[in-house]
């Protein structure tokens, strides 16, 4: 158990208090990740538990290992040593991870990572493939999600014709389409301007709050990090410290937009 485990209190973006959870949703046990045959140690012997329903900010300097950490948390990278546990069970295979990402984990990327040849709604529909639901229901679900992020009027637009903020809304809608338990956002506002940063942050936290999701956000943005009940600082591949949590209210702009 790392030292940050002792301070799991705080409030969500909307001000709802979260209580500590003894049963972690996801946990890392002695996880290390090295590259180039050990020449580069991105993470070293890291232990971490993230409780269900919490919001966690992962902060740190560039190259500190925070992106590697979130990649391991969502299984798109694998640890060199150590184990990742989901609800106490080790996740050992890529098939297990794919299943988790399909049903339990949503990911929001800094670079949006949308399929450029497809429309907004088609991008979301792709994330619903393989869940045994009909095309009509997939489209309906995708439309609902786009509506929730305020993109209903652009749902049939090709994503290359959308602005950065609009693309990230589509990215959020895609990540939430499967109603995941855990949302992982890797620098979700890193490619956005100031106004869009605020809107996207508000949108993401509000939706997570509405849906009762756990959220892990990697960010350089102190304001964004302060929305989380818990902050983990990564330095040189280890957890350095957990700074105090700062709580702010949702922005007026986002409140207005989401109404």
């Amino acid at each position: 158990m790392d030292k940050s485990q002792g301070s799991e209190t705080g409030s969500s973006a909307s001000g709802v208090k979260k209580s500590p959870n003894a049963n972690p949703l996801i946990a890392l046990r002695g996880v290390s990740r090295v590259y180039d045959d050990g020449a580069i140690a991105a993470l070293t012997n890291l232990d971490l538990e993230i409780a269900s329903g919490h919001s966690v900010a992962v902060v740190g300097a560039s190259g500190s290992g925070k992106s590697t950490l979130v990649n391991l948390l969502c299984g798109i990278d694998h640890p060199t040593t150590g184990t990742v546990l989901w609800r106490g069970q080790p996740v050992n295979s890529q098939a297990q991870w794919a299943n988790l990402r399909r049903n339990q984990i949503g990911i929001v990327f800094q670079e949006f990572n949308l399929i450029p040849t497809l429309s907004a709604i088609e991008n979301i529909e792709l994330a619903l493939l393989g869940r045994g639901i009909s095309s009509r229901r997939r489209l309906a679900r995708a439309a609902v999600m786009l509506d929730r992020v305020g993109m209903e009027s652009r749902m049939h637009s090709r994503v290359t014709s959308l602005s950065g903020g609009e693309r990230q809304r589509v990215g959020i809608a895609r990540a939430l389409a499967n109603e995941p338990t855990l949302l992982i956002a890797d620098e979700p506002t890193g490619s956005l301007d100031g106004a869009n940063t605020l809107l996207i942050a508000d949108l993401m936290f509000k939706l997570c709050d509405d849906l009762g999701m756990t959220i892990v956000v990697v960010t350089h943005d102190e304001v964004l990090a302060s929305r989380c009940v818990r902050r983990i600082r990564i330095k040189d591949g280890t957890i350095d410290a957990e700074p105090d949590t700062v709580t702010i209210a949702p922005s007026v702009a986002c409140e207005a937009e989401l109404k």
Binding site: I76, N99, I105, N113, L114, I115, L118
Partner: protein, 370 residues
């Protein structure tokens, strides 16, 4: 949106590459189909031609490498005719003989008294009278391709023959025949007293085919076959079949390589997209399936082009000099089905490799690619 929709969208992204890949598969499938069809058609045409003569048995020189390569002394015809149960026999010399314009024509020489003359389905004119020399009967297609009609003359081996009849056989190969008196062809080709094969009709009331075959072959140095088996011993046809098959396999493998190359390029370009699919929870199997579906769409489109090309070539085939009027070139359903199955299996294998390769990279690494 499903895997087919996604695959077709991806193919439309690169129209030039997709078109070239489809054309490559099409040429491969069309080429293979045309080659194998041609080989089968030649076999079928010759077989139909022999069958049209109504023989029970065809007697050839034992060990002859092909149907043109064996020679039997003409007097052997009478000895075969004396075998118990043999009703009628007819010696025949046949060869591709040079005509006036340098083209070769399939030319048959029949004895004066041969029953085969009596069976010629004349469309115009007559057959040679007994003892008549330097006359010819042409198949209707041969007459048309040579531009000859009754009373015109043709040249075979530099010898002039007067056209006295036009025959209306039904098989393609017989419609392209030139029929001459045996003695004329023997002299012109410097093969006196030789025949290439002996046609045999049996009296089925007096013998059965197996017994007659045994009795004829016991005369020495002869092989008696039913018409359908004649070509099975022909080395030229065996070589033609083998070469056609080999070239066809090479062609279809090349088609599969087109698919493989196109998909390798496509998956390399779309490494990041494949990482996205993995990140949104697609299993390796689903990602591979999306790539394989793309390959199979190329294969289906290419096979369609190949079928059209082979159809066009079968329609154009009759206009090819020398062979066009001898062979009925028609791709059979079984052959088309076999070629398509082989093409699909090879394209599937060709698609599997880039698909497998694409999912080997960890998603995080794939997402770092531009």
């Amino acid at each position: 949106m499903n895997l087919f929709g996604l695959a077709s969208r991806n193919l439309k992204r690169r129209p030039v590459r997709t078109s070239l890949s489809i054309l490559g598969v099409g040429l491969a499938v069309g080429g293979a189909l045309a080659l194998m069809s041609l080989s089968h058609s030649i076999n079928d045409s010759v077989r139909e031609g022999i069958n049209e003569m109504g023989d029970d048995l065809v007697v050839m020189q034992k060990g002859a490498s092909d149907i043109f390569g064996g020679f039997i002394l003409e007097p052997m015809t009478e000895r075969v005719g004396s075998v118990p149960g043999v009703a009628r026999v007819a010696g025949e010399l046949f060869m591709f003989a040079p005509g006036a314009n340098g083209s070769n024509m399939l030319t048959l020489g029949w004895q004066d008294n041969s029953y085969l003359w009596k069976q010629v389905p004349l469309r115009e004119g007559r057959v040679p009278a007994s003892g008549e020399r330097a006359v010819a009967v042409l198949g209707d297609v041969a007459a048309a391709s040579l531009g000859k009609k009754l009373d015109d003359t043709i040249e075979i081996f530099g010898v002039t023959f007067k056209v006295v009849g036009i025959a209306g056989y039904t098989s393609a190969i017989n419609r392209g025949l030139v029929l001459l008196p045996l003695i004329d062809l023997q002299i012109a080709s410097h093969r006196p007293e030789q025949v290439t094969m002996i046609h045999v009709r049996l009296d089925h009331a007096a013998t059965d085919t197996a017994r007659a075959r045994g009795a004829i072959e016991s005369l020495g140095n002869l092989t008696a076959s039913i018409a359908n088996d004649v070509l099975s011993k022909d080395r030229n046809f065996a070589i033609l079949d083998a070469v056609s098959l080999a070239i066809s396999i090479v062609a279809i493998v090349m088609g599969a390589i087109y698919v493989l190359a196109a998909l390798i390029m496509a998956t390399q370009e779309r490494t990041r997209e494949i990482g996205i699919f993995a990140a949104i929870g697609w299993s390796k199997t689903r990602i591979m399936a999306s790539i394989v579906v793309e390959g199979m769409l190329l294969c289906i489109a290419g096979s369609g082009v190949g079928l059209i090309l082979s159809l066009v070539s079968s329609l154009a085939f009759p206009y090819i000099p020398a062979i066009g009027n001898l062979v009925s070139f028609r791709p059979g359903v079984a052959l088309v089905a076999l070629t398509l199955v082989v093409a699909f299996v090879l394209c599937l294998i060709g698609s599997m490799f880039p698909a497998w390769r694409a999912v080997q990279m960890p998603p995080a690494e794939a997402l770092r690619r531009t």
